[in-house]
Symmetry: C2
Amino acid sequence: MTVHQRTRTDDPHYIRLHESDNVAIVVNSFGLPPGTQFSDGLVLKEFVPQGHKVALTDLADGAPIRRYGEVIGYAIGDIPQGSWVEESKVRMPSPPALDSLELGTRVPAPLPPLEGYTFEGYRNPDGSVGTKNILAISTSVQCVAGTLDFAVRRIKEELLPKYPNVDDVVPLTHACGCGVAINAPQAVIPIRTLQSLARHPNFGGEVMIVGLGCEKLQPERLLPDDKQGVVRLQDDSFHGFGDMIEAIMEMAEARLKVLHARKRETVPASELVIGLQCGGSDAFSGVTANPALGFAADLLVRAGATVMFSEVTEVRDAIHLLTPRAVNEDVARALVREMAWYDDYLAQGQADRSANPSPGNKKGGLANVVEKALGSVAKSGSSAISGVLAPGERVKERGLIFAATPASDFVCGTLQLASGMTLQVFTTGRGTPYGLSAAPVIKVATRTELAERWRDLIDVNAGRIATGDATIEEVGWEIFHPNPIRLSA
Amino acid sequence: MTVHQRTRTDDPHYIRLHESDNVAIVVNSFGLPPGTQFSDGLVLKEFVPQGHKVALTDLADGAPIRRYGEVIGYAIGDIPQGSWVEESKVRMPSPPALDSLELGTRVPAPLPPLEGYTFEGYRNPDGSVGTKNILAISTSVQCVAGTLDFAVRRIKEELLPKYPNVDDVVPLTHACGCGVAINAPQAVIPIRTLQSLARHPNFGGEVMIVGLGCEKLQPERLLPDDKQGVVRLQDDSFHGFGDMIEAIMEMAEARLKVLHARKRETVPASELVIGLQCGGSDAFSGVTANPALGFAADLLVRAGATVMFSEVTEVRDAIHLLTPRAVNEDVARALVREMAWYDDYLAQGQADRSANPSPGNKKGGLANVVEKALGSVAKSGSSAISGVLAPGERVKERGLIFAATPASDFVCGTLQLASGMTLQVFTTGRGTPYGLSAAPVIKVATRTELAERWRDLIDVNAGRIATGDATIEEVGWEIFHPNPIRLSA
């Protein structure tokens, strides 16, 4: 990476990520005006906003535009050296063909193990380890959501304070369960997600289900091994709403008592299941926060943990960089399977991948989804990819896993939780006040401006990498020793 | 309708709905045992549960089974007189073909107007009339839902008590707005729904929007005529979460002040927009609650109100009874258009209409979606159908309108709200503790057992029709004079 060339905070500087790149991004907070000269002699022909690309050489009409050492598009019209390579001047390339990818051809060698790191977790009977101690109340059908929300407010006010070892009460409400064809092929995804969520390590095996009674998705499908953990609102013994609320509260209190008795114990870092996500990305995401998170991901894999990266939308255009890293051909083919699902999904909805990035991503300097994807997959670090999960599947292997999810923040978060994630690291450039009820989230800012402005929402400032105040490795280690997990050696 | 034949509550009795019917349903609470003799001489060959069908004649293998004067299926094997016509003995017929329907061929003549009925409503600048006075806070994107929920809790606790003329504060959160292809053809439905909801009569033109900033669905698309009503969480002036909450609360308080100054006034019944829905249906739905609601719908149409019925899923199999009632060919074709959309939707999802009814519907005696549909459309009464709305479209005409929605309770309710519904009537047989935040819901039970058991959830007991204690007309008038609207002459 070339940071050209910073001696004082306000000196003009840009970041070029790969020696073959013919564009670089401007770092200075408010962009740079025409006539600005960089330390290497490059002169800006026009204003270039922060995070946006400047042409390092003359780019002829149709010429490939390279960032991250990859082609992110082709020049529309001649683009002279020093010009702003604005979105409208970049023709998006086709996505990598799925039938000619290298499958497990360049499997990275394992990095040396990182031993002795531990954290304080809740060990469960099924062998999983939680990072929180939560009473979860799931639902088999949308019709009960309002009633459950009412009950949960009362549980939090009247019962939870009596059981201070329990961190929270979380209702798992959703729009499924009835009024839809639950045996349609794609209905497997929401149903599996609910089944997996019920088994989340942070719920300590004490989840309960609120159902209606007449719904198509019967509660037994969510919790087959616990006949005692269901309240059905149509129960003949309930004389109205008050009885329903009392029954939910009574079952909740019995479970709060069990959860309250649990104790944290010291467990190895290998028991962590980490999810990686980015939201509100900008051009710095792939320069600062995501590469630092990739470095942290490598550290976590070395410590034996499970690390999930996701977001099919933002992996599709970088898939050719990932399938060679799959630990074997089967894993590579599973990656291809998830990309093909997405291609079909777009075609069925008569949409295409240009629906991404968002206006904010574009304002942040991302010209198209190819550029966004190349920055997004930096989160995956450099380890071999040892497994692939379909949406909502529970994770089994350790190491680096691709968990297929959409890129929408809360949808990705929910599916990573379903897969068993007990800690998430979330990078953001534009800024989003994202969080999850069921697992801690560490927020990493791509820019110093955001980290300083949102002091109560951002945990780690990766913007220091762009300004030369920290290295990718330093910020990576900072993510590895995070609050509230605080891995200790 | 033949009620055979009741002199005491526990005498065996059944209900046959049409003279051509060869099945009837058993009314007695716990079903009836083999050997039971009815007053007309019919003897049960086996146990028949409450709400389930008994064969009134011998039905040969393949013979049509008739209820409501319509074919609800064909006998699988011979079914002797007095047998239980259980679900597994009924082969479902094909749905009515969409290319050979009668279009506006039998338009009912208008019933005599019903004049002088009024209610106390809130008149809005756009001419609409609300039944409640609510501060609604909409959202342009899913990412802000958690922050808004936090703010709304504080608004309800700290601000709402200062403005007692305001009934409630309702957040309109959803899963859309970004991370999806908002320009895909079908994305028009959620976007239009959010646009229409923002204009709901009960929100008094004072809705506000919370957005993120970088999302694809920009707040201006939801509220084009109000540039002042948006809080963007990425606003540069916000230094963290506290500032975001303060900004939302400040804008909310300004709007609470305006809403607090509104006064109810006496307006004609023709200003009401009523939505009809059923949920947790049973075999009595089409015998008691829905016909009584149909009678009330006719009264409301006579009073000049707008009456919407919905639930494409449960209209598809009775569409041949509806297209002839359309006020003209265009309206009939619009009905066909919505049915064709549903056929395509099922095909695309590789599902079919046998996904409905639910297990509870079946326990309640409904053999298949044909029988369910015939009971469901009884809600529409006997008026001409004067308009059709695509999902989330705002209603323009008065009279009886078909508003296309799925049958899932909360999805139907939300779409009817988007179309402008200010009062809903909801019938239920199995029972559901359904309600809406944005408009009052009148709950009608199909069975006396349910009405008596759920005294705090059911407003009207239509079960008295089955037991001969009230007529359809009497219960219809009772729905027409409901709490909390209480139409008065």
